[in-house]
C-alpha cells in the first residue's frame, strides 16, 4: 500500500495497464515527454517508449479519429482530451463514431477506447476548462461514463475502463487531483463500472452524488448528524449506466432523497436519477426529491466560482428542506 493522490493513482493505473497489455496506447496533447499538463502521464513515455505513449498534433477531432482507427487495428487506445470543455471539437468521434462502432458494424468491430479528460470547478481555470459536460456523453447510447471521486476508485475504475471492450469516458475532477491522499494498493485491482459506492450508511436521507460533490456531501452529512440526522451518502462513480439497485435500495430504506451535482440543473445527470427513483420507488418517498445543482448559466467567470458552485452549505440547506418536509 502507498499513500497516493488521485493523479498518482491515475498514473499508476496507466502504468499498470501499459505493462499488462502491449495493445494499450496512451496519446494526446503533451502527454508524452511532458508527462501531461497535470503530470497524469508522468514518466510513462520514458518507461514504455514513444511507440506506446505519444504526443499528437493539436486537434481534438483528429485525436478521436486516431482512436477510432487504432482500435480498428486491434489497439486499446487511451486518448486524452486536455480539458473536457474541448469535447465539442471531438464530439462526432465520441458520440457518433466510437459509441456506435460495435452497433454500426453489426457487432463485428469493437471500440475498446478510453477517453480521459479533466474537468470540474474550484481551481480558477480560464474559460471552458471546468465545465461539467458529463450529461452530454451520458445521453449517448453506447458510451459508459465514469467519474471517480477518490484515489482508490480512480485506479480501480481506470483499469476497468481500459479493460472494457466498449468505449468509456473517464472524467477526472481537477479539484480532486491533489486535494488529498489515500491508501492505494500498488498491485492491480479493479472497481466494477456501473457500481455505486455507499460512502456512509444512514437511515433518514439518501444523498446521491458524484465527483467533487461527494466530499461536500460527506461534510454536509457530518453537519446534519450533529442535528441528529442519519444520512446515507452514495457516490455513483459511474453516471452512465446508473447503479439502479444501490440507488433504489437506499431510497426504500430512507424514504428521502437529495440528488447533488456540480453541473447546472438543466445539465448533468441529476434529472435522470430523479426520474428513475420516481418510476421505481415513489411509494417509498416521504418527501419530494430534493436537488442541488449549479444555476442554469454558463460556467462562471473565474472570480464568481465561489458564489456559483454548489457547496456544503447548499447541500445542508436543501437536505433540511427534504428532512423537514
Amino acid at each position: 500500500m502507498a499513500q497516493m493522490t488521485m493523479i498518482q493513482a491515475i498514473t499508476n493505473a496507466l502504468q499498470t495497464e501499459l505493462k499488462n497489455d502491449e495493445n494499450v496506447l496512451v496519446f494526446g496533447e503533451d502527454v508524452g515527454v511532458n508527462g501531461g499538463v497535470f503530470r497524469a502521464t508522468e514518466g510513462l513515455q520514458k518507461e514504455f517508449g514513444e511507440d506506446r505513449v505519444f504526443d499528437t498534433p493539436l486537434a481534438e477531432s483528429g485525436i478521436g479519429g486516431l482512436a477510432v482507427g487504432l482500435s480498428l487495428t486491434g489497439f486499446r487506445p487511451v486518448m486524452e482530451i486536455q480539458f473536457f470543455g474541448f469535447v465539442f471539437e471531438v464530439f462526432d468521434s465520441l458520440a457518433a463514431q466510437l459509441s456506435r462502432q460495435y452497433f454500426r458494424s453489426g457487432g463485428t468491430k469493437t471500440a475498446p477506447v478510453v477517453i480521459r479528460s479533466p474537468f470540474g470547478g474550484g481551481v480558477h481555470t480560464p474559460e471552458l476548462h471546468a465545465d461539467n459536460l458529463e450529461g452530454l456523453v451520458a445521453q449517448t447510447p453506447g458510451l459508459k461514463v465514469v467519474i471517480p471521486s477518490n484515489p482508490y476508485d480512480a485506479k480501480g475504475l481506470l483499469i476497468s475502463a481500459i479493460r472494457d471492450n466498449d468505449p468509456v469516458v473517464y472524467l477526472e475532477h481537477m479539484k480532486l487531483y491533489r486535494s488529498f491522499r489515500e491508501e492505494v494498493p500498488e498491485e492491480e485491482y479493479t472497481v466494477e463500472i456501473g457500481k455505486a459506492a455507499v460512502k456512509q450508511e444512514g437511515t433518514d436521507l439518501s444523498i446521491i452524488t458524484y465527483g467533487a460533490m461527494v466530499q461536500e456531501s460527506m461534510k454536509a452529512a457530518e453537519q446534519l448528524s450533529k442535528d441528529g440526522h442519519s444520512v446515507e451518502v452514495i457516490d455513483l462513480r459511474t453516471v452512465q449506466p446508473l447503479d439502479i439497485d444501490t440507488i433504489i435500495g437506499s431510497v426504500e430504506k430512507t424514504g428521502r432523497v437529495l440528488v447533488v451535482q456540480e453541473a447546472q440543473k438543466q445539465a448533468g445527470i441529476g434529472a435522470n436519477v430523479v426520474s428513475e427513483i420516481s418510476e421505481r420507488a415513489i411509494l417509498s418517498l416521504e418527501a419530494p426529491i430534493g436537488r442541488v445543482s449549479a444555476p442554469d448559466t454558463c460556467y462562471p467567470f473565474t472570480q464568481a466560482e465561489n458564489v456559483w458552485l454548489p457547496n456544503v452549505n447548499d447541500i445542508v440547506t436543501e437536505a433540511k428542506k427534504v428532512l423537514e418536509f
Binding site: D51, T56, P57, A59, S61, G62, G64, G65, L66, A67, V68, G69, L70, S71, L72, T73, G74, F75, D92, S93, A96, Q97, Y102, F103, R104, S105, G106, G107, T108, K109, T110, P141, G142, K144, D164, N165, D166, G194, Q240, P241, L242, D243, I244, D245
Partner: protein, 371 residues
C-alpha cells in the same frame, strides 16, 4: 494616400507558381490513345480486361440500383455512374490486406474488395447485416458523416504502421468534403505520423447543388496537400489507367514508409446526388452533362481495349447479363433476410454485458417479440 505599387514580397506569384504545379495527370485521351507512355501502368491483358469488367458491371449495378430504388426495393442510394474509373481503378490498385474507409457513395469499392452484393443491398435498405464485413474485407461500412472517414483513416494507417504490416488505409471523400475540418485534420495527422494512407477526393464538381467553385478559392483540391506537407496529385478521374497509376504509386510510397498522398480525381456523377429527391436539373445544365458524357470512362477505356483486341461487344454484353443476374439473385437473397428486432439492436449496443437500463428494455422487447 497612394497605394504602394511594389510589394516587398510577391505573394500572388508564389500562389500562382504553386497552383501551376498541379496539372491534371492523364494516360488515355478521349479516343483511348495513350498520351503518356511514362505513366502507363504495368498491367497484364487479363488485368486490363478485369478492370473493364468491373467498370461495366458497376455501371449496370448503378442503373439497376436506381431502378430498384424507384420501385421501393432499395433504400438510400447515391448514384455512381460516371465515377467508375475514379472508384474502381483506384481500388484495383489495392491489395486484399488494405483497409478501406469509404464514404456513402463508395459502395462499389467495397463490393470489389469482397462485400457480397446482398449485403450492399441490405446496407442500402438499412439492415445491420449489410454492415457486417466478411472477415477478409478490411473495411468499415460507408461513412455518412462527411470527413469522419478521413480522421479515422489516419488512425487505421498509424495502426497498420505500428503493426509493421505491408498494407495501406485508403479513404474517399467528395469535393464538398474537402471543406471539412476533419478533412484537414486527417491528412495532417497522417502526415505528422508518416502513416501509410491514401486520401482520395473524388471531385465530381458538385456537393449536392453547390458547385466546386463555391467550396474554396483554391485552384485545385489536390494542392490542399501542401498545407500538411504531403504530395498531392490531380488526376483525370474519367481515365481508368491514370487513376490506377497514381493510386498504385501512392500505395508503393506508403508501403515504403514514405507517408500519405492526397489524390484528386476529376470526375462527374451522371445521376443525382442521391435518390432521396435530388433533382440535378435545378443546378446543372444539359450542356454540362453532355460535356462530361463525352469523357465517359467506359467509352474511353473500351476504345483502348478494342484497339488492343481485348474487348468487343459480345464480351461486354456477357458482363451486362452477368451483372443483371447477380443483381437479381442478390435482391432475392436480401428479401429473404430475416427482419430485424429491437432485441437484436439491443444486443448490438455493447460487446460486453448489457447495462441494466438496456437489459430491462431488452427483456420487454423479447417478451413482445415472442408473441
Amino acid at each position: 494616400m497612394a497605394v504602394k505599387k511594389k510589394a516587398g514580397f510577391d505573394a500572388v506569384s508564389v500562389l500562382n507558381e504553386i497552383e501551376s504545379k498541379f496539372e491534371v495527370v492523364q494516360v488515355l485521351d478521349l479516343d483511348g490513345n495513350v498520351v503518356n507512355e511514362d505513366l502507363m501502368p504495368d498491367l497484364s491483358d487479363e488485368q486490363l480486361v478485369e478492370l473493364m469488367t468491373r467498370m461495366v458491371w458497376t455501371r449496370v449495378l448503378d442503373q439497376r440500383s436506381v431502378a430498384l430504388n424507384r420501385q421501393g426495393r432499395l433504400g438510400f442510394y447515391a448514384p455512381t455512374a460516371g465515377q467508375e474509373a475514379s472508384q474502381l481503378a483506384s481500388s484495383y490498385a489495392l491489395e486484399q490486406q488494405d483497409y478501406i474507409l469509404p464514404g456513402y457513395r463508395d459502395v462499389p469499392q467495397l463490393i470489389w474488395q469482397g462485400l457480397p452484393l446482398t449485403k450492399a443491398f441490405l446496407w442500402s435498405r438499412g439492415h445491420f447485416v449489410g454492415s457486417q464485413m466478411p472477415e477478409n474485407v478490411r473495411a468499415l461500412a460507408p461513412q455518412i458523416i462527411i470527413g469522419a472517414q478521413y480522421v479515422q483513416t489516419a488512425g487505421v494507417a498509424l495502426g497498420l504502421k505500428k503493426r509493421g504490416e505491408q498494407a495501406v488505409a485508403i479513404t474517399y471523400t467528395g469535393d464538398g468534403g474537402s471543406s471539412q475540418g476533419d478533412f484537414y485534420e486527417g491528412i495532417n495527422f497522417a502526415s505528422a505520423f508518416k502513416a501509410p494512407a491514401i486520401f482520395v477526393i473524388q471531385n465530381n464538381n458538385y456537393a449536392i447543388s453547390t458547385p466546386r467553385s463555391k467550396q474554396t478559392g483554391a485552384k485545385t483540391l489536390a494542392q490542399k496537400a501542401v498545407a500538411v506537407g504531403i504530395p498531392g496529385i490531380v488526376v483525370d478521374g474519367m481515365d481508368a489507367l491514370a487513376v490506377y497509376a497514381v493510386t498504385k504509386e501512392a500505395r508503393d510510397r506508403a508501403i515504403a514508409g514514405e507517408g500519405p498522398t492526397l489524390i484528386e480525381t476529376m470526375t462527374y456523377r451522371y445521376g443525382p446526388h442521391t435518390m432521396a429527391g435530388d433533382d440535378p436539373t435545378r443546378y446543372r445544365t444539359s450542356d454540362e452533362d453532355a460535356e462530361w458524357v463525352k469523357k465517359d470512362p467506359l467509352v474511353r477505356f473500351r476504345k483502348f481495349l478494342e484497339a488492343k483486341g481485348l474487348w468487343n461487344e459480345e464480351k461486354e454484353n456477357e458482363i451486362i447479363e452477368k451483372a443483371k443476374e447477380d443483381i437479381k439473385a442478390a435482391i432475392k437473397e436480401a428479401d429473404a433476410t430475416p427482419k430485424q428486432t429491437v432485441s437484436q439492436l439491443a444486443e448490438l449496443m455493447y460487446s460486453g454485458e448489457m447495462p441494466q437500463n438496456l437489459k430491462e428494455q431488452y427483456e420487454i422487447f423479447k417478451e413482445k417479440e415472442s408473441k
